[in-house]
Symmetry: D2
Subunit: 391 residues, 4 copies
């Protein structure tokens, strides 16, 4: 297969792809052992959005920025949204952070203490206010809630409390807004996590209603989990709301998506293409959620967007007819070969072509490096408090 | 805590416990590398039931035997049930085996070939006939269906086929019968397994109706999975139908339950007791599903039943009031200590007492060893074809 | 088996047990998401040692405190050692921290930059100076060194650099001092870790000489790793230098030892007893290395020491003669039963007895709680900078 | 990068590559649940060699066949070697099977029973005789030995017995012969495996001498293990003897190499190329060890050889100078990009070119399919006993 012979449909699909980047990726991050600060890191939500706009400027397919509350709290959210629009990007999901207050030591919405549960719920509701102000559609909920020791709290009672908070939040969101519920196997809780797997998130979403959808963070699974199966299953159920893309060799490593297992990313995008869910109208958000602990952050984001794009291009090149025929015939090696033919194709020339057609530099990494932006922010952003996870 | 001071309620709960043993545990089993035959292994379903009856005779809490079709096919199932009754046990779940026919190389109910899907469905329906004939309530379904290679078959189409077969089977079962749907991470399929996790089984059960329930096989999870969370969650949803008990250090090792991680078994039984699901009327079946590859089979089963009983006794000894109080107070170490106090209690004296009260030998392992049954069957069961997994 | 009938040898072994506690356990710790501060946390090395002395005061078997450099840097180490002695404890291993300086972003002793490697080596040598000043025997080395991305650095070259730094350090230690080399599967490095497994640590120790020994941190393994096998193997090779005890359900969770899998801890201590390595003269250090993120720290340490003690008592109660006989006879269930008989014994009455004989309160947790120490330090230690991991 | 512009050195390296195929790959295999028989499967060692010769005929880089004793026992081994030579291939490693006799239920060379240990050792020595007769250089040892239950046998005593058997075998091999010692995490043993990891194999090899080398089976590791690290480490130590190539998503799935994680295979081959160990003279054997449970066996082997060849070609295309420069500069993204540039290159045109130059069909899969060999053996090989794992 020669990628540059790609059909107009494939090219159109690639031109229409939209990837969402997280504001927090541009701040400092690290492990519990050390956060290595980097020069030029943003001090304000505005500076984060400016950095995100760079990623879009060079890739052309990353026009959306997620916010994180309270990290991105500002006085005037409408003004922040307008600022983003001026830079060519728009506000995406609002992420609620209910894990960094001392009150949340034993949980937020599942805390045994009703006062703390109320506080956490209020934070969720504040995030919906911010959605209203920014025009954001999606409330993304990741709860770090859980327990570290057997017996520490009652597993079932925590589910009851979770259900209650989710119901109250669902009541509050508007007709065109959604709750995106994320799951995670473990960390920071080390015995029970209250939403540990897709089944738990799915069951809660079912009870809430159609505007509650599941988020798949690709780093949040047990070893051996077949993520593309979950993608296919949730798409079949109409309950896949979003991805948090990143990659991992071990646990929630939060490496650049596609860096650890590019073949897995391709298989995931194959299920997306197979279900015609790449289109923006499908309702599936393709977000990055990563930590650039040791590599520079803007180039790390550009590299990640390109990795998703390359995997998408390969998935679009799969010969669906030949694949279906081999599958129907029970031709194990033949069907596998159809898939691998697309994966083994070098799609970079095709993507360079498409970028050139759109007036972009064919090589986004090199173009950004040449731009001098990194040097500019390193010089300009001196003083103040660098943004970070703030553990 | 001294276990022998256990309350009448605890003692009654222990006396009422019922564990189901599988007919196939008495046949030969092994790994793909070797099946080591043992002397005295049954040749017929009747001989398997006779061995199972021994387990009940010495433990007093294992009065039910699961059958496995086609391994346990007989001409007259009513007669087989009567035979079991004569030996003091009854027929439990009927397990459908749709993985050992050459036709099932690429799947049974999810096979791309409609002829093979029909054949598999017919086998399921035959199992319901056998349920009718034996008075069995439960059809237990484990599908080995899946694929080995990316692209080999369409993940979503296989779910459609699965849903169709399940719906047809659900239509057929009676008002007082149930489908118990089991999940498994992998093996024998090594890329996609069509029912890989509890979420998938649960979603299919929801669509079928109230008489479809999930089976938790304790060996069928990814490393790190918190099984007691799944137990608690499914109990909360009213969808836990049964356990397949065994233990494992690595994958689906099928070791004796409680042998690899007795603390995990205790935590599972704690959730059962916490939800008042130990009672037979709760509808949760407690089955063993194990391979005694290198140890003698009847003693292996007795040991396993005792392990479940010991974990149950410990779970019953948890001071629920003290636990709830510590949990409500956010006393992490205190709540953990309440649980551990029960776990660290030696319940064997209590169980010996209870057995003696019931006219059983206090030491079932020793009593069976003294009985001469092992020697008798080794002598008597010569010739014929030993039962086995027959891979 | 009744534990209180334990032999004089068992009682003597329990009285002679020594467990080492880490100074950093008393400071704040957390995950990358949040460090929850606790009242009364030490501000100085002296306050950490005072807290550690409490653990010894109530358990009677924790007379040693490990230091961590630079966290425990003081002007006068001899004075610090004398301070410890006044409180009834002594200084144990010196732990070198070469992972929290911005220079170490890409590694310490394996960094591609020779200047940084030199800086890291100098830090190791400073730690040996501190050993000389405190009378410490052991230099404990854990390197967080590694890479996050394929290609980032040369795997083999990093081994060469590691070997060079180890050799230089080994040259520097005295005749009665040792290097204890720790390994870890991953974190904070997420692709290659330079000392990822016991084999790597062992191979480097072999090249260094007899005073280089391997440290087993019980939380530093891949899922499914049989830790007691490694214990037995290194003891057979004479290369087990120390444990870092903690427990985990997932990754390096650093929960209290024995909390996640008490049976595993028992199996580890069984190998220790089997090799007669419990005695202080065996040269195996039994250290704790844990994070008390949500539970109070001193009680968390006391609970951990008791967990090790209980596992040790059970291991000492194994009937070695009966076990060997069953093993020699190939009696799978019999041999397992001998081991489980000891594990299932409630050793708490025995340990209470031994404590009473030694003039200790039989219940260390309750005695500490009653002592008022927690309230005292919460009141007294106000102001200053609480100790912590300082990521 | 355009692969067809590859240097003469790269082309020469690819032409010189040699991959060893296993005789057992052409027989039936399966899981413990079912072995699906395939038409045309060999009945004799000669027929297996004939099938292996087909793989070489179409790929040009698979001229060696491993034997497995007793599966490949014949009266006259010299004649078998001559038969292979006539077909254009030669005999490679001799694999000793000491796991399929009823005597080996509790182990072979580590069995508690000295009679069985002697029998196992005699089998190893017989294999050396066969090496002498066939001109084979390598004795490949994989021991399934281990235990299923804690306490079942003494971990350390089993190491003593293992060391004794290895020493006796090492004594027997000739000056130009080698022992290749394989390790495996688990299966068929489910608690302790006597050679579970590379560290154990390495330690035993060190004691034996220079002609004892470690075998890396790519499917024999715990989840998360970095295999290329082990490759690099053993190469640095001069102790990497051979690979058993296959791939896996979960445990020892034995899928076609490169099918589950082609990027991992590339990273492994990158370490090989980096250490100049691709050359036949390096002493590293590149063997396949796979189960084609559901796909046809000869095409499955051809596909696997091609997968290794493609990964090798990509590894050879890595720009070593640019990589080293980026690594030295601490340029995380730049170094990663150099590696990924090679991985993302489509090397299939280059390999087609090289095949054509050598007089081979550019498309081995298609050429084999057209050849009619599959149909011929399906017709001819009727009757007799198909070869298989024979569990």
């Amino acid at each position: 297969m020669t990628a540059t012979a790609a059909s107009p449909e494939v090219r159109a699909a690639l031109r229409g792809q939209q990837i969402e980047v997280p504001s927090w990726a541009y701040g400092n991050s690290g492990t519990r052992f050390k956060v290595f600060a980097q020069p030029g890191v943003p001090r304000t939500p505005e500076e984060k959005i400016a950095d995100a706009a760079q990623v879009h400027a060079y890739t052309g397919i990353a026009p959306i920025v997620s916010l994180h509350i309270p990290w991105d709290r500002v006085e005037d959210y409408a003004k922040l949204a307008a600022y983003a629009a001026d830079l060519g990007v728009r506000i995406g999901a609002i992420n609620a952070n209910v894990f960094q207050d001392d009150d949340y030591r034993l949980g937020s919405v599942t805390n045994p203490d009703p006062r703390i549960r109320r506080k956490a719920l209020d934070h969720l509701l504040e995030c919906v206010d911010i959605m209203d102000a920014t025009g954001s559609r999606d409330l993304k909920l990741w709860f770090s809630d859980g327990t570290n020791y057997p017996g520490q709290d009652d597993i079932r009672a925590r589910q009851d409390r979770l259900a209650e908070a989710l119901a109250a939040t669902y009541q509050r969101i508007g007709e065109h807004q959604r709750i995106l519920l994320e799951y995670k196997l473990f960390e920071p809780a080390f015995y029970v996590t209250d939403v540990p797997d897709w089944g738990t998130a799915y069951a809660h979403c079912l009870k809430l209603g159609e505007r509650a959808q599941v988020v798949i963070d690709t780093g949040h699974h047990a070893p051996g989990t077949n993520i593309e199966f979950i993608v296919a299953f949730l798409l079949r159920e109409g309950r896949l709301g979003a991805f948090d893309f990143n990659s991992r060799f071990y646990a929630d490593d939060d490496l650049m998506v596609g860096a650890a297992d590019p073949f897995q990313l391709f298989r995931i995008m194959h299920e997306i293409v197979r279900a015609d869910a790449l289109r923006v109208e499908s309702g599936v958000n393709f977000m990055l959620d990563q930590c650039h602990n040791i590599e520079p952050k803007i180039p790390g984001q550009i590299r990640s967007v390109l990795n998703v794009q390359e995997a998408t291009a390969k998935a679009l090149l799969v010969d669906a007819g030949a694949l279906a025929a081999a599958q129907a015939a029970g031709d194990v090696l033949g069907a596998n070969a159809v898939l691998m033919d697309a994966y083994n194709t070098d799609v970079r020339p095709l993507l360079r072509e498409i970028r050139a057609e759109q007036g972009l530099d064919p090589d986004p990494m090199a173009a950004y490096a040449r731009s001098g932006y990194a040097e500019k922010i390193a010089t300009a952003r001196v003083g103040g408090q660098q943004a970070g996870w703030g553990a």
